[in-house]
């Protein structure tokens, strides 16, 4: 990667989702600073979209992680993708996804995000309580 210390992606979601997940990434890998938490409390959809755009442009990121498919951050990001089609949006983000992303050695953050989404799907398991 050209600059391993640069922020690579935004993380946006409900409540303290972004800050919470990033604190967990930091605890596990020490690479929480690769992710930029987006705080959207009190913002309307248009302002969320504007904020996402500003943060992407400021840090030069090309990836957005959001929590819920129907969430307002996801909706705002999907609108933004019409203006910025090279940005990749991954909804349904979880800790395994973000861990895989920050540990990736891929040159392109979008490539890292695609792989991380697949890894995250496979990281969901249930144990016990046989049916």
């Amino acid at each position: 990667m050209s600059d391993p210390t640069a922020k690579k992606a935004l993380v946006a979601g409900h409540g303290d989702f972004a800050a919470g997940l990033i604190s967990a990434v930091e605890a596990v890998t020490g690479r929480g600073d690769l992710l930029d938490p987006i705080e959207v409390k009190g913002l309307c959809g248009e302002d969320i979209q504007l904020l996402l755009r500003q943060r992407l442009e400021t840090i030069g990121a090309t990836v957005i992680f959001t929590d819920l498919q129907a969430g307002s951050c996801t909706m705002a990001a999907r609108r933004l993708l019409r203006e910025m089609p090279d940005v990749l949006l991954a909804s349904g983000a979880n800790l395994p996804m973000l861990l895989d992303f920050v540990m990736s050695s891929a040159d392109d953050a979008r490539e890292a995000a695609r792989a991380a989404v697949e890894r995250a799907r496979a990281a969901i398991s249930i144990y016990g309580a046989p049916t």
Partner: protein
Amino acid sequence: MTLVLNRIDDRLIHGQVVVGWGQPLDVRFIVLVDDAVASSDWERELYRMGVPPEMELRFHSAAEAAPLLDQYRLDPHPGILLTGDITTMRELVLHGGVREVNIGGIHHRAGRRQYLRYVFLTPGEQQALRDVASLGALVTAQDVPAARAVPLEEMLAHAEDL
């Protein structure tokens, strides 16, 4: 069942609506009334992808929706009526028989003043909500079911403390 929630929410379809209210109320359909969304294929598709497959989503303009609300009230399943602004809901109170209005989210924007964590209003919007109440609708603010429904006048008075 019927329309169990008539909600003003400038984010329209999002987590609070689909999961927060949708699941406990067992909502099977959402009537989204918004002139801009109703007239745009892209907007409709955006919102359609935001709801689970078992939830039906209907789109109408304000003028189109008012005469249809009685039909939706006869639906055997619970549904949510959703507008993105006060003006549209006022139309539905005036011409569509809506008698209870939930303020779910009117967020920060230039010229608006804060009333609750999720409610910001211009003086004109404040008056518009009072107009809705004077038409006979019970207007309360409540973002999620677990929160208390705050009566309109209490909410407006609360702004003095913020």
